[in-house]
């Protein structure tokens, strides 16, 4: 054509021109697609990056490995290099992500005007105010400026001290409600040191816990979970198969107690008595070590009034039980006593027990150069708050702690804060303390900032930011450093680097290499020498004999909500507390006998009145607490802290004395009620095979528990067996190792975009968890049952899956690798599959799931978000399986055993879950089955569903033999 424009080209142009004209019309919003013209060498779209950092959800200081997808942290796992977490973390650690993406986080600085309302201010204005207030206060006199923070790492402590000094002050206080003050005091009395010892449960044969919930919240639960599963694993000792024997002495059958052999129910405070009684029996029977260095005469004097019979009378514990514990403890080759009680004397008893049996240095040890605790002594905290109340401070900066919520009522923290003319609060979700502050500054989440941790001697955790800040927040160190002239470090990143420069110098070698290694491995981990300690009984006074109050209140940190910091995270609220199985609320556990006396039933709100105040909590009548004790968890009862935490439950901190977790209480039913919500149906198994247990005596004798003999597998198949050309995925779950911590559940929520549904949703039977911790009470007719049955239940990936043939549209189908696949797009929502599933592990989307922004940023891009009307389920993290298989394919090799790990297995601190290929008899998963043949069982195997999951029975000592 002469014009040079062919017809075809013309049409093309015309079409694109009209398309271009149409586009702005239908897409007015700015949608930018920015191509990777210059690609970031560290980011491959679709491939996750991993950053080692540290957890901030409790003082244990676990190392984390954050999975970051295209700039968003989507999953947290334990850092395998870190000696504490060793690649696993707890549910609270997992939920750190929901702290990062919490929709109620303060998005920008806010200032409170005279009328009390908050208005948005710019960072510049906010910092101008801060500077002028600080300037005025520091000029007004010495110590007019103060900082109150939570447990902090060494670098930030340096920063805060420098900041205080620059403001003519030395008032820097670190406060945390649970800082093991009792144990520190006991250690000071006995050993003259205030650091916490290191515990090695795995080195013991017998364990006595005086109210220490070491599998839930006590000191370092992830580490103890791992040690405990090692301790409880069957081992050949002195010619017979045995497990570690564990006793729990305390008022409540906690998750920790449930995993022990025996629960010795005593009123709060009476643990000490039992400890001293055991000592007295051991002395009498000469079960104490003669060369332990303990002054036995002094000890005899100390325990004189703790004769087992007298203690038995005072506490109601049978003398026989005390004798049995003493014998077990004294004769064990390695024993450990620990205490989590609020009574310092109980810690004293535990230390003396360990010392007198020569276990110091073996199952428990102090380390050289131990950090002296990240928080201040109770007396220091009290005088600090007194000074606030006396008006001695003009400007107070509060960050990372919530004194108004968690300080004991006798400190009158709220009143004290009111007396401070200018309170600056820095943090994430505005809490009760923020409600009293004049200026609110959004602080970086730990996953957005540089920090470090020194949880124990030899372990230095390095926290690095894993992503760009979600909100307009700033790092606390950066904020305070910007207020001082010529600071030593310009930013907290520099401060951290400076600390690590010192560590690097000590370690030797080039700093650059050291720094790269530290960031890659998440810290510096060195072996530390055991400190030589000498127990000194000279200054020990025997505690006054215990008298039980008529009714006592016992509070304990909630396994998920801890000291209240977990309450703003929907995952943690929705996880059923393993023993009570209650979600989204708090509860007062009352023994049925006591409930009858008080005339209360489930859900009836009771008023609990101590000398400090009143709380109202709905009753939960359960035999999991001893009579005349009312157990209420810490963690709820917030008046602020965002939509998930505010106005749920009651706060026991408000009615307890300083450092106490128990009090004498008067109880009055109010006549009101509030429904406690649980996803659990019945608490008994009704003789069905769901969670099974056997005694160690049976295992040693090679017996299978009665009624659970392996069934004869006859040729009763109608259809030919499945053909699995490559793999057949399976799982082995060791119920004995499982500690009920629910970390697997939280990990599944994070990995598989499982939505949370809230209290009403759970009440309506809409809970979405693909894996759950099932909890059953033993039934009356059972011989030698465990204290409680606890096990994770997830899709069993049956070979003869009842869910598959009933689906009319093949949405539920059998994959070539033995999984019960579910095609979400194909599902029409008949729900027949769930009706036919005997394990009830399928979950239906009753509504369109919602993640209030920016919680949605956490969603895993590898897993589809399901819409309303679709059935969903566990597929052993099929996206991870795909990932592993594709990796192997690319590298032209077979999939290695252990290369693919589902989220639940990865999260499990106790390594209870092993995943692998059933076709590979050498896989760790199959070996675990083979090595524990006698303990193998499958849930409801009589239905011939042929699950791919094999459970290993729980083990415990027979009654009276523990």
């Amino acid at each position: 054509m002469s014009s040079g424009l062919s017809r075809r080209s013309f049409l093309k142009l015309a079409a694109s021109a009209s398309a271009a004209a149409a586009v702005p019309g239908c897409e007015p919003a700015a949608r930018k697609l920015i191509p990777y013209v210059v690609a970031d060498p560290n980011v491959t779209p679709g491939i996750p990056s991993f950053f080692a950092t540290i957890c901030n959800e409790c003082p244990a200081g676990c190392g984390l490995l954050a999975t970051v997808r295209e700039g968003r942290a989507t999953h947290l796992d334990g850092n395998p290099e870190d000696p504490i977490s060793q690649g696993s973390i707890c549910a609270r650690g997992q939920a750190g992500l929901q702290g990062l993406y919490n929709p109620d986080r303060l998005p920008h600085p806010m200032s409170r005007n005279a009328g009390g309302t908050l208005t948005r201010v710019s960072w510049d204005d906010a910092m101008k105010t801060v500077n002028s207030k600080l300037g005025a206060a520091s000029k007004a006199g010495k110590d007019r400026v103060a900082f109150l923070g939570g447990a902090q790492g060494p670098s930030l402590r340096d920063v805060m001290s420098a900041w205080a000094a620059a403001n003519n002050s030395s008032r820097v206080l670190y406060y945390s409600p649970f800082s093991n003050q009792g144990m520190r005091e006991a250690a000071e009395t006995l050993f003259g040191r205030r650091d916490l010892p290191v515990f090695r449960i795995d080195q013991a044969e017998v364990l006595i816990s005086f109210g220490a919930n070491f599998l839930e919240t006590w000191i370092s639960p992830v580490e103890f979970g791992r040690q405990y599963s090692e301790f409880r694993a069957p081992k050949e000792r002195r010619g017979s198969t045995t497990i570690g024997r564990a006793f729990y002495v305390g008022p409540r059958l906690s998750t920790t107690a449930a995993k022990c052999d025996e629960w010795i129910a005593v009123a709060p405070g009476a643990e000490t008595e039992i400890g001293f009684a055991i000592l007295s029996v051991m002395l009498k029977q000469r079960w104490v070590s003669q060369n332990s260095g303990v002054d036995l005469d002094a000890l005899a004097k100390l325990v004189a009034s703790y004769d087992a019979a007298a203690v038995g009378k005072r506490t109601g514990v049978p003398v026989d039980t005390i004798n049995r514990m003493a014998e077990a403890f004294g004769k064990a080759n390695g024993a450990l006593a620990i205490s989590g009680s609020d009574d310092p004397a109980s810690h004293l008893a535990a230390f003396v027990l360990n010392s007198a049996t020569g276990n110091f240095g073996k199952t428990v040890m102090f380390l050289q150069d131990a950090p002296q605790g990240a928080t201040n002594k109770a007396e220091v905290v009290k005088s600090f708050v007194d000074d606030l109340r006396a008006g001695k401070i003009d400007v107070l900066v509060v960050a990372g702690t919530n004194p108004v919520y968690s300080m004991p009522p006798e400190y009158r923290a709220a009143e004290a804060l009111q007396k401070v003319p200018f309170v600056i609060w820095a943090g994430g979700v505005p809490d009760e303390t923020a409600a009293m502050a004049n200026l609110l500054l959004p602080m970086h989440h730990p996953l957005e900032s540089w920090r470090d941790r020194n949880p124990r001697a030899g372990i230095w955790g390095l926290g690095q930011p894993v992503m760009q800040p979600v909100f307009e927040s700033r790092d606390l160190g950066d904020i305070v450093l910007s207020t001082i002239q010529n600071p030593k470090w310009a930013t907290s990143a520099e401060a951290v680097k400076a600390t690590w420069q010192d560590l690097g110098t000590k370690a030797g070698g080039s700093f650059d290499d050291f720094w790269v290694k530290a960031r890659r491995e998440g810290g510096l981990f060195q072996d530390q020498h055991v400190a030589d300690v000498k127990l000194n009984l000279a200054s020990v006074q025997a505690p006054a004999p215990y008298t039980a109050p008529e009714i006592s209140l016992y509070s304990y940190p909630h396994i998920f909500l801890y000291d209240g910091r977990g309450a703003d995270k929907p995952w943690l609220q929705e996880l059923p507390e393993p023993i009570s199985q209650i979600v989204w609320d708090d509860w007062a556990e009352i023994h049925p006998d006591t409930a009858r006396k008080l005339e209360v039933t489930d859900n009836a709100i009771v008023e609990l009145k101590t000398e400090f105040g009143i709380i109202q909590v709905p009753a939960l009548v359960r035999p999991t607490v001893m009579p005349d004790v009312i157990a209420v968890p810490f963690g709820l009862g917030h008046t602020a802290m965002g939509r998930y935490a505010a106005n749920v439950g009651a706060n026991p901190f408000a009615v307890l004395g300083a450092g106490r977790m128990s009090a004498s209480v008067t109880v009055r039913p109010t006549g009101d009620s509030r429904k406690l919500v649980t996803p659990l149906g019945k608490s008994e198994q009704l003789g069905r095979s769901i969670v099974e247990a056997m005694t160690i005596e049976q295992l040693a004798a090679g017996e299978v528990p009665e009624g659970h003999e392996p069934e004869v597998k006859g040729p009763y198949e109608f259809y030919p067996a499945w053909d699995y050309p490559k793999h057949k995925w399976g799982m082995t779950i060791d119920v004995n190792a499982c500690i009920g911590c629910s970390s697997c559940v939280a990990a599944c929520y994070a990995e598989n975009n499982v939505p949370f549904v809230g209290k009403e949703g759970v009440d309506n039977g809409h809970i979405m968890s693909w894996i759950r911790i099932e909890r059953f009470y033993p039934e009356a007719h059972e011989e030698n049952p465990p204290l409680m049955y606890l096990a994770p239940i997830l899709c069993q990936q049956c070979d003869h899956a009842p869910c598959e043939p009933v689906c009319p549209v093949f949405a539920s189908y059998h994959t070539e690798e033995g999984l019960n696949g579910q095609i979400y797009n194909r599902c029409v929502g008949t729900r027949y599959c769930e009706n036919n599933c005997p394990y009830k592990v399928r979950r239906f989307n009753w509504f369109l799931p919602e993640w209030p922004s920016p919680l949605n940023l956490q969603l895993n891009p590898d897993v589809a978000v399901r819409g309303a009307g679709v059935m969903e389920k566990c597929t052993f993290c099929i996206q991870r399986i795909q990932y592993g298989e594709l990796d192997a394919l690319q590298e032209k090799r077979a999939v290695r055993d252990g290369e693919i790990v589902p989220a639940c297995a990865q999260a499990c601190p106790a390594h209870a879950i092993t995943f692998g290929d059933i076709k590979d008899p050498a896989s760790a998963m199959m070996r675990r089955r083979d090595q524990n043949k006698l303990r193998n069982y499958q849930i409801l195997s009589e239905l011939n569903t042929q699950p791919a999951v094999v459970y290993l029975r729980d083990l415990h000592s027979a009654k009276g033999k523990a």
């Binding site: 009319p808 729900r831 009830k840 369109l848």
Partner: protein, 425 residues
């Protein structure tokens, strides 16, 4: 006037139900009371109930036709009409219950580019086939039977009505040739419809029997459900005919003798159903399966035990009054009994479906169920929809077969001559 008020009332309720359904589709099934583990409840109960109702129509029109039962002629049109509307209602119920109803057609095999077909192992697919076949055959059979009557109406009508009925009558002239063809096809259709009476509800029962849930997984379900379906269906015929006879002044055509026969069917099927309950219990005891036994224990004495005992009262005890001939010819009394049977049979399905799901294999996953207002109003809507349609038809079309009544009149006269007062009264 009263009639139109009634129609308006019915379709207002249908409108309310439709609005609630629309909301359910938009928001999600969470607006129903369905939950873990009771994934099926009122919607499926309604489905089985309405399919059951649909059974007696074909039974009366086809099976009794083959047996040349005389009393059939007066009631079969009404029963068959009831069948059509009941199947139409039943067909809606699974749609209410689907999570993603807009994809409901995936249950049917249809050609598509991805060669996706339904899973023929699933009883729900069998169900889709069974119910749609039943609707098709019933519809054909019913419209076949209507042709001579429609022609009759056409011949007597004026204006627009004449035109409408002329189309519907398909050019029926009443010639010998046409009558001959008609009789052959009618007989063939009756033969075709007969096995469906047994198969459809058997298939429906397999929705449950094929699952392994205790309380569902049982081999007696097919005969047990078919008997139950006929039981409830005939009872529904009585429930509809008694007021219809009064309102449309059909006393001459629908005599107590007809109701006496219907009542005998109700009594017989009631006894079969009672026997099934007993036998189910016996089998559960005899199986020695503790899980199955627990399910039945919970069915009788659990939180919904009262529903079971109301059901026993309605289905097993109250129908025993039909042993008295005087009750069988007392229309008010059998009408009341028939309503009890309807209630009882609805409860039976609910007790089996929701009650068994509630008490499943996994005690930790047992859970309660409370119907929501959406479910209740949709259920009410299905009744309104059914009654509204039936009323419309009864008012505007021949609800009693004129042709067959004419044939029957000869025989009736004979019977009267014999002085058989009970039959002819």
């Amino acid at each position: 006037m009263l009639y139109w008020a009634w129609i308006l009332f019915c379709f207002t309720l249908v409108g309310v139900a439709a609005a609630l359904w629309a909301r359910q589709i938009y928001v999600g099934l969470g607006v129903s009371g369905l939950r873990q583990p009771v994934m099926w409840a009122i919607y499926i109960t309604n489905f089985v109930f309405w399919v059951g109702i649909a059974h007696s129509g074909t039974l009366i029109s086809a099976i009794l036709f083959l047996f040349r039962t005389k009393w059939r002629t007066a009631v079969y049109r009404a029963a068959e009409t009831m069948t059509i509307f009941a199947v139409m209602t039943a067909g809606l119920c699974p749609l209410f219950h689907l999570g993603r109803v807009w994809n409901a057609y995936w249950l049917l095999p249809y050609p598509n580019e991805r060669s996706l077909q339904p899973d023929f192992r699933s009883p729900l697919v069998w169900d889709a086939f069974a119910v749609s076949t039943y609707l098709t055959v019933s519809l054909l059979f019913w419209s076949m039977g209507l042709i001579p009557d429609l022609a009759n109406v056409r011949d007597h009508a004026q204006g627009i009505r004449k035109k409408i009925f002329a189309v519907l009558a398909l050019g029926w002239q009443g010639t010998d040739r046409q009558w001959r063809h008609y009789s052959i096809i009618y007989l063939l259709m009756a033969g075709l419809a007969t096995p469906l009476v047994l198969s459809v509800h058997s298939v429906v029962s397999w929705d449950f029997a094929m699952a392994q849930l205790p309380g569902w997984h049982s081999t007696i379900f097919a005969p047990y459900f078919v008997a139950g379906a006929i039981f409830s269906g005939v009872a529904m015929v009585i429930t509809l005919l008694v007021p219809m006879r009064k309102l449309l002044h059909l006393e001459e055509l629908l005599t107590p003798w007809h109701f006496d026969n219907l009542a005998k069917v109700v009594l017989l099927t009631s006894l079969i159903v009672s026997y099934s309950y007993l036998f189910e219990t016996f089998m559960t005891w005899y199986s020695a399966d503790p899980i199955e036994q627990m399910t039945f224990h919970m069915r009788y004495f659990g939180p919904w035990g009262y529903l079971f005992w109301i059901m026993v009262l309605c289905n097993c005890i109250i129908p025993l009054f039909l042993f008295f001939p005087s009750v069988r010819v007392n229309l008010l009394q059998i009408w009341i009994i028939s309503i009890f049977v309807n209630i009882g049979m609805w409860l039976e399905r609910f007790v089996i479906i929701a009650g068994s799901l509630r008490v499943n294999f996994e005690p930790a996953q047992w859970g309660p169920y409370h119907p929501s207002i959406t479910e209740i109003m949709i259920t009410v809507g299905t009744f309104a929809w059914f009654l509204g349609l039936f009323s419309l038809f009864a008012k505007h079309a021949p609800i009693i077969s004129m042709t067959e009544m004419k044939e029957g009149i000869m025989w009736l006269r004979k019977a009267l001559k014999k002085g058989d007062s009970t039959k002819a009264a």
